[in-house]
């Protein structure tokens, strides 16, 4: 277990720029009267520079609490625009912000909470070309991203620049949190040397997420960042916190620094940032799935024409039962996970259109059915979402 002394070197000793004005002393009074923080701790917070990657589910509560706590400089990395489906959990954004750049929306709320915070906005996708430069001016990086390539990028860039990586991730109602890439502690690759193959772990858009969950985990990340800055308490270094929101259970697993780790081991082979999309076996993988060779597609307008003409193909729906209840095209429901067990219920000679919500899962289903001898299967491009956009606007989108 690393000594706290390692953590205390994260920020420079307080200098004149982190002196507190009378207004700030009043603002932070509840911190100052605690021995764990005090004037010295608050000055450390003011001198600290924390980079938040992502201003979405995890980034929202994280950035809000860092600003409230008086972290002096907060960097925000996001290139996305606020969507109404974000509002269920990305609490830094509000209804009037729909359509606005997330960076602008987030920066406005953070300045409102604490005008003393210096905000640095990076409207860009974090990449191997820019990560090292961006990280250079910060002391701690907090990872609030939502995909594997970026997580490995953040990890490697943290190891290479010597910045701690405060990690959090969520799926449905479970979360993980830890602090990686400290000098003595493990990094993300010590825990997970390789990413899962694309498509094996669904995104939030496909798997769903309990709105409060990034709140729980994001504030845990903010807590860890603040502890690192103050040099107080026991950080989650060498510890993986597992959160089960449904059972309200918190478990902890031991993490070890792997001496053979390619990033932070004794003989590292990762000496520069790589192509992380390639590392994760993806190129351009973002829902909805782009058509890959051999997966024939039908646009929703054509399906509509065929149905109206009384010439509809068989429709197979590979979503989950609760999605079918929200909206459906009257297709036969066999969830993707059950298809290997149940495909014999289908006629391999029959012309069949397969759909899901956005086209990703159904592309996999078409691929599987083709390999199982089905001659005439087609993917519905854009899924039932495309149908709700272009054919039947009365159908709810989710």
């Amino acid at each position: 277990m690393p000594e706290l002394n390692d953590m205390a070197t994260v920020t420079d000793a307080p200098n004149t720029t982190s002196t507190l004005s009378n207004e700030e002393v009043l603002r932070y009074s509840r911190h100052l009267i605690m021995p764990e923080v005090g004037i010295e701790g608050q000055q450390k917070l003011k001198a600290a520079r924390v980079l938040c990657i992502g201003t979405g589910g995890l980034g929202s509560p994280l950035a809000l609490y860092l600003a409230a706590a008086g972290v002096g400089t907060i960097g925000l990395v996001d290139f996305d625009v606020v969507d109404v489906t974000n509002l269920q959990r990305q609490i830094i954004h509000a209804t009037p912000d729909v359509g606005r750049k997330k960076l602008d929306s987030a920066a406005e709320k953070l300045s409102g909470i604490n005008p003393y915070v210096i905000l640095k906005k990076f409207e860009t996708r974090l990449s191997s070309q820019n990560a090292l430069d961006i990280f250079r001016d910060f002391d701690i990086v907090v990872d609030g991203t939502d995909n594997f390539p970026t997580r490995y990028l953040v990890n490697d860039a943290c190891v290479l620049t010597g910045k701690p990586n405060v990690y959090g991730s969520i799926f449905r109602f479970e979360g993980q949190a830890s602090v990686f890439a400290t000098k003595e502690g493990p990094c993300y690759r010590c825990l997970y040397p390789e990413p899962p193959p694309p498509g094996l772990v669904p995104s939030c858009a496909e798997g769903g997420v309990l709105g409060i969950l990034p709140g729980l985990v994001g504030v845990i990340q903010a807590t860890e960042a603040i502890k690192l800055i103050l040099g107080k308490g026991e950080p989650l270094v060498g510890r993986l916190l597992l959160v089960d929101a449904l059972g309200m259970k918190f478990r902890e697993l031991k993490l070890r620094k792997n001496p053979d780790c390619p990033a932070c081991g004794t003989h590292p082979t990762v000496t520069k940032l790589i192509d992380y999309e390639q590392f994760c076996g993806i190129r351009g993988q973002e829902a909805p799935a782009k058509p890959s060779t051999g997966i024939p597609e039908m646009p929703v307008e054509e399906l509509k024409r065929r149905i109206d003409a009384g010439n509809a193909p068989f429709i197979l729906d590979v979503r989950e039962p609760h999605e079918y209840q929200i909206c459906n095209l009257g297709g036969k429901l066999i969830p993707l996970g059950e298809l290997p067990k149940r495909y014999q219920e289908l006629d391999p000679e029959q012309e069949m259109v397969v759909h899901c919500k956005m086209g990703g899962r159904s592309a996999k289903a078409v691929d599987f059915l083709q390999k199982s001898g089905f001659k005439n299967v087609i993917n519905l491009a854009g899924g039932i979402n495309a149908w709700a956009t272009s054919v039947d606007p009365k159908m709810p989108k989710y």
């Binding site: 990872d143 969520i170 479970e174 899962p196």
Partner: protein, 96 residues
């Protein structure tokens, strides 16, 4: 040594392959036995846990109580009654 009966915690992304259950009871003297018992009850789990040549996938970690089996005796890690096995795959959600 009698095989221990213990619980395997199933993480959310894999529950669909285990009838939705959060934990499954298995028997085994070692981790390898216990996971074998698990995948014979739920064969769909096997390809998510193991590669085609029988190795545990690199994005899945297995813990006995709070220790990673890679730092114990891997599949040969012995089990005591009351031990719990956790399967911990990587998850990435955070922003979307």
């Amino acid at each position: 040594m009698k095989p221990a009966t213990l619980n395997v915690h199933i993480p959310t992304p894999l529950r669909q392959y285990a009838d939705g259950k959060p934990a499954i009871e298995v028997d085994g003297k070692t981790v390898g036995d216990a996971l074998g018992s698990l995948t014979s009850q739920y064969p769909d789990l096997k390809k998510h846990l193991y590669t085609e040549d029988g190795k545990l996938r690199a994005f899945v970690n297995v813990y006995v109580n709070d220790e990673d089996i890679r730092y114990l005796e891997k599949d040969n890690t012995p089990l005591q009654p009351g031990d719990s096995i956790s399967i911990v795959p990587s998850i990435a959600g955070g922003c979307c």
